[in-house]
């Protein structure tokens, strides 16, 4: 055995290994230089992005107040049950326990968890009851991933009252996210989806605040870097009077239709009702799909705001337009008379009136008793061109510009319109129908209320509006527009309308001590009902109209009431108008009216 082995090869080869080790270490050093010094800035930004997170502090939406400062819409604190899956030790077991504690379906929770963003809590139950919160608190040790958040929730204390005017809120839709007016909002944001909530959405939303926080890898907050508190949405003071609104809703109980009352001097809307209605509170936490599909498929169309979206034949209320136009155009004078035998035979057609006939009629009496023959004759002399022009000057056939979304224009037919749409010429007989507000004429209750207001205020077309001031600032562009009517014309129309209530078809709207001016109307729906094969008697009854303003000599309120399938305006709509007016003037109990004329009016 050699004492010293020959280790020359070993030593030479160890030199190779040493070089290899130095080489590898140098390469590693270069990589660290590259990461830490050359690209250090990039990684510092990534690390910052990792650790800090911006949390939105939702600004409570501004409350809506009525003209007296009474609350119409507010926010109330509510509890959201949140689940942060990353915090769970055993997510499956925790979901099961949570489902049992809240008595909701496990599948529902799992579906929401599946759609979440990493490290963001999932809302498992919005607006949870106090009992739920207590149950979760008691079990918080076995539910480490569950938390409860207090969030402001939109609340409509009047429930369905003025629901269509106030509107509703809901999660922003995919389509809305694309629109410029919703710029800066992300998915899940709560925005107005109808009515004033939608119209004044930006103003009501205020400005969201945020917190920049340091979070650890499990998303748990460990410190706060910066805080910008939210700016509450400013309150919006409305023109609505919640007491009148309540009276209007009461007066409408059990009926379908709509009513709107405005101040004829300013255009301020005092109350508006559209029935059937819905409860906007059902939308605030995300409406249940079943309820939503029921609401949109309901033949009573509860989501539709009939005041601005219901386009009805104005019926005899249109006689106000014909009378005004004829007096202004000099087609008739206040003393012009026509004989009414109960019908008019013209253009090979028999146009009907009250069967017994009204006899000799001037414009005053024709309005009072709503004599069709007088207006057939007047309409024929005016011709359709001048009728259409005057209807437009009086605000029909175009949106009123009310501060609500999706207002419809109504329709004033003319030969040009007919040629454009149907490619057929205008027939003279159609003018006869239009003269009593039938045929193609369509008007919204708001347009008709404004028309009544224009007669009441001496010939000015107001711009109806619902907002008095936003955050104390009055809104611009509300000046009424002068139509240019002769005082004499207005005098004749007004006295006719006063007589309608005092001794004519609108007697049911009479008030003690206060002169009410009005006009009844019925929108014939028989033909339409037959077309739609609706056999029930209810559906065949006409829509009853009633326009009014009061006090007749210094009007403070103008009103349009439409009762769908309620029968004639005098029978169906005038009593509703009576109750609304009585409430407005503080007359608690409706006075029992005394019949002045028979009900056998021809409208």
């Amino acid at each position: 055995m050699r004492i010293y082995e020959d280790l020359r090869v070993v030593q030479a080869r160890l030199g190779v290994l040493q070089s290899l080790a130095v080489g590898l270490m140098t390469l590693l050093g270069i990589q660290f230089w590259n990461l830490q010094v050359v690209r250090g800035k990039t990684f510092r930004a990534l690390a910052e992005n990792n650790r800090s997170r911006s949390v939105t502090l939702a600004a409570p939406r501004g409350p809506l107040l009525d003209r007296e400062g009474r609350v119409l819409v507010e926010n109330r604190p509510s509890f959201n049950v949140l689940l942060t899956p990353e915090h769970a030790d055993d997510l499956d077991a925790e979901v099961s326990r949570l489902a049992r504690a809240l008595e909701i379906g496990e599948a529902q929770i799992r579906e929401r968890v599946a759609r979440r963003t990493l490290f963001r809590p999932v809302v498992v139950k919005a607006d949870a009851a106090l009992a739920d919160v207590a149950a979760l608190e008691a079990r918080h040790l076995e539910l480490p991933a569950v938390s409860v958040d207090v969030v402001p929730l939109r609340s409509y204390p009047l429930a369905a009252a003025a629901a269509h005017a106030l509107g509703r809120v809901g999660e922003i839709s995919e389509r809305q996210l694309q629109l410029p007016e919703y710029e800066g909002l992300g998915p899940g944001a709560l925005v107005g989806q109808a009515g004033l909530e939608s119209q004044y959405n930006r103003r009501l939303m205020g400005t969201d605040g945020f917190r920049r926080v340091i979070v650890n890898s499990r998303g748990l907050e460990v410190a706060e870097l910066e805080r910008q508190p939210p700016v509450d949405g400013p309150p919006l003071t409305l023109t609505l009077d919640s007491r009148l609104q309540a009276a209007m809703d009461r007066a409408f109980a059990g009926r379908a239709g709509s009513a709107v009352a405005l101040d004829p001097r300013t255009g301020e809307i005092l109350a508006m009702t559209s029935t059937p209605a819905y409860d906007p509170n059902q939308f605030t936490t995300g409406i249940e799909p079943a309820l939503w599909s029921r609401l949109i498929s309901d033949s009573g169309t509860p989501l539709m705001n009939r005041v601005i979206q219901g386009q009805y034949s104005p019926g005899s209320t249109f006689k106000l337009v014909i009378a005004t136009a004829a007096l202004e155009e000099g087609v008739i004078t206040p003393s012009t008379t026509f004989y009414c035998p109960g019908y008019l035979s013209v253009y090979n057609t028999v146009f009907r009136c009250k069967a017994a006939g009204h006899g000799v009629m001037d414009v005053h009496h024709a309005l009072t008793l709503s004599c069709n023959v007088f207006f057939y004759q007047t309409g024929i002399r005016l011709e359709i061109g001048r009728i259409a022009a005057w209807a437009k000057r009086l605000g029909l056939g175009a949106p009123t510009g009310v501060d609500l979304p999706y207002e419809l224009a109504g329709l004033v037919p003319s030969p040009e319109w007919k040629m454009r749409i149907f490619k057929t010429p205008w027939y003279g007989g159609e003018t006869v129908s239009v003269a009593i507000g039938q045929g193609q004429v369509g008007a919204t209750p708001l347009q008709m209320a404004r028309l009544a207001g224009a007669i009441a205020n001496g010939g000015k077309l107001v711009r109806p509006h619902l907002v008095r001031s936003a955050d104390g600032q009055p809104l611009p562009g509300m000046e009424p527009a002068e139509i240019g009517l002769k005082p004499a014309t207005l005098e004749v129309i007004k006295s006719g309308m006063k007589a309608v209530v005092a001794e004519g078809t609108g007697w049911r709207a009479r008030l003690p001590g206060i002169a009410v001016a009005g006009k009844t109307g019925s929108a014939q729906v028989v033909a339409k009902a037959r077309l739609e094969k609706t056999p029930t008697a209810f559906a065949i009854l006409p829509h009853g109209w009633f326009l009014a303003f009061a006090p007749a000599d210094a009007p403070r309120i103008a009103l349009a009431v439409l009762v769908e399938h309620g029968g004639s305006g005098g029978e169906a709509a005038a009593p509703v108008a009576h109750d609304i007016l009585a409430a407005f003037f503080g007359l608690s109990r409706p006075e029992p009216g005394t019949p002045g004329v028979t009900d056998t009016e021809a409208e």
Binding site: V10, R13, L14, M25, G29, Q36, A47, N50, R51
Partner: protein, 362 residues
Amino acid sequence: MIDRRLFFNIDWVLLGAVLLLSGLGVAMIASATPAGRFSGLYLKQIYAIGLGLLGLVIALAIDYRRLADRAIVLYAASVLVLLYVMRFAPVIKETRRWIQIGSFQLQPSEFVKIAAALFVAKVFAESRLESMGLRDVLIPGAAVGILAVLIARGPDLGTAACLVPLFCAAAFLAGLRMKAVLGLLLVMLLVAGLAWPYLKDYQRTRIYTFLDPSLDPQGAGYQKIQSQIAVGSGGLLGKGYKQGSQAQLGYLPARHTDFIFSVLAEEMGFLGVVSVLGLYLLVIWRMLETAQLARDRVGAFLVAGLAATFTFQVVYNVAMVAGLVPVKGLPLPLMSYGGSSIFSSLIAVGLILNVRMRRFAN
């Protein structure tokens, strides 16, 4: 038992550097586990270092030649223990790697590396061939291969892979012909290099998962990204001790074990990284120097095998932290938290000191 003369021949530089790295490891573990269920782990690491030093002294005391003479016995024991672990050890983190002794968890594979180094050194030292071809290393290679496969079944591919450099280094020094060495390397590189780009992602994932079923590509990807962010954001000077957001807020996975070097890089910066890499290079250099100074082949092979394993682990772990190689459960020797790792590392250092201090003795 230890001759006083031997005591003076201990490589104090190597021992000093090793203790410095261990101490740095404790400091980084303390930073990486400030609170929560892992706080206080640095104390356990200190105990482990204490125990490891005891093991180091024992490994130092017994003449390495007497240990090498019993290499066959140690090899057989290793196989038996690994078989036992495979069949009976509790499943921890979906793997069977540990055996429970009292309140301690021991990872036998860490100690198998040392047994393998002794075994390989002994086998090659006994072979008196002037030069060896591939055929001559087949039988010892197969013997080590059996150990590697048993460890890999754990599954613990990282530790199993450590046996490859161990064996290669010893075979290289034992006189494997340069042609054979080059041929071996060339073939391995060619196969890997040519095949890899043609594989689809899912095929690569399949290969990974075939080799290492515990591998979760998504999880591994997350770890890699977070580690790179930690390292890169450290910059030149670092964010300061206990000030690294990646480490302190928990974005770094396995930060006190496999990714302890990320914590160092984030908090101590490039200067800290270079200093520690320098210390590791010093340790490796002194180890290889010891192999050169060894008085006999068995000592040289033993040291070279242990040094190769050590170097492989350091380089792989640091390269993993830098995002250069796939994430594997391979600790950084001396610095990562873990009793078995620190214990076996210190025993290996003890054996290397053993060889160096007995270089003049008969």
